[in-house]
């Protein structure tokens, strides 16, 4: 069971990863954000954020693009279509739980 209610995606359900996914979903489809900007927005340590991003990447929810800007290495993050759909499903499941709790 692991504490995750039925119908909720355990990859997204961890609060830190939910914040990552919610932030990336606020960007336009096809937009990417640089790692430092995302880290600052979430106020996480680089190591903590990297770990969560790896799990999201492994699940196919986040696309990690490593590139160079001049001589500096840069990493960009974006939600994949799968990730966007999983986030929408997660929100829908929460809404269902809320309605169930109210009704």
């Amino acid at each position: 069971m692991g504490g995750v209610p039925d119908g909720l995606d355990p990859v997204i359900h961890a609060p830190a990863r939910l914040r990552v996914v919610a932030s990336l979903a606020a960007l336009g489809r096809g937009d990417e954000v640089a790692f430092p900007k995302l880290r600052k927005l979430l106020d996480m340590t680089a190591g903590n954020l990297s770990t969560h991003l790896r799990k999201l990447e492994d699940a196919g929810y986040v696309r990690v693009t490593k590139t160079h800007e001049g001589r500096m290495p840069a990493t960009y993050l974006a939600l994949t279509d799968t990730g966007r759909a999983a986030f929408a499903d997660y929100q829908a499941a929460l809404m269902d739980l809320l309605k169930g709790a109210q009704g």
């Binding site: 692991g2 504490g3 995750v4 209610p5 909720l8 355990p10 359900h13 961890a14 609060p15 830190a16 939910l18 914040r19 919610a22 932030s23 990336l24 979903a25 606020a26 960007l27 336009g28 489809r29 096809g30 937009d31 990417e32 954000v33 640089a34 430092p36 900007k37 600052k40 927005l41 996480m44 340590t45 190591g47 903590n48 770990t51 969560h52 790896r54 960009y76 974006a78 966007r84 986030f87 929408a88 929100q91 929460l94 809404m95 739980l97 809320l98 709790a101």
Partner: protein, 235 residues
Amino acid sequence: MTSEPTSGSGADPAQPGDPAGLDPAETLRMIQQQQEAARDATEPDGRLLFGAWGLAWLIGYLAMWITARDTGSPEVWAGWVLAGCIVGAVAFTVVHSVTKTAGLRGASARVGAMYGWTWFLAFTAYAVMLGAMGDAGASTEVQAIAANGFACLIVGLMYIAGGLLFEEVRMFAIGAWMLVTAVLAALVGMPNTYLVMAVAGGGGFLAMVAVEQVIRTRRRSPGPAQRTEGGGRGA
């Protein structure tokens, strides 16, 4: 790197001691707040941009109107005040937009860059056209009507284009209002064309500051979680 680092916000996978694992309303609220924070960090603040342009037009065109009312045509110093206000608003817009969108790339960044350059190109063409009209012997009154009317025409169409591009009804509305302002500024003639620019043009921008503020407050009020419906990029 197999162990999950624990931090204040990183409890995984569910908070111990909470049998249900979560409070759906609280979680939806947290999602909403996080997305608001993400938009704040990545999108220019409409209140600041509208505010800068509203003040620039109000102060600059009032200076033009006050001096034109007395002598029939604006004083040189008023022209410099207006030019200074416009340059200041442009500089603020560019710095604010570039700062907010730094660290982003992709479709929106490309569209945003093209949109920004179109403003620059349109007003460069505008300046050249006005200069040519002056060289061809246009009177002060004709030049004033052309300068004000065309400025509103460009601003109006650019805001309408922005409304279509970014699916922002408010941008479309202020664009349509600027086309109305263009008509009024052209019809009233000298010297009141400058008063129209200050009050209808500058005032229009300042009204948008209030509209943005109301929408922001309403979106942020800790209301029912239903407001997060849809997630994704809103507005």
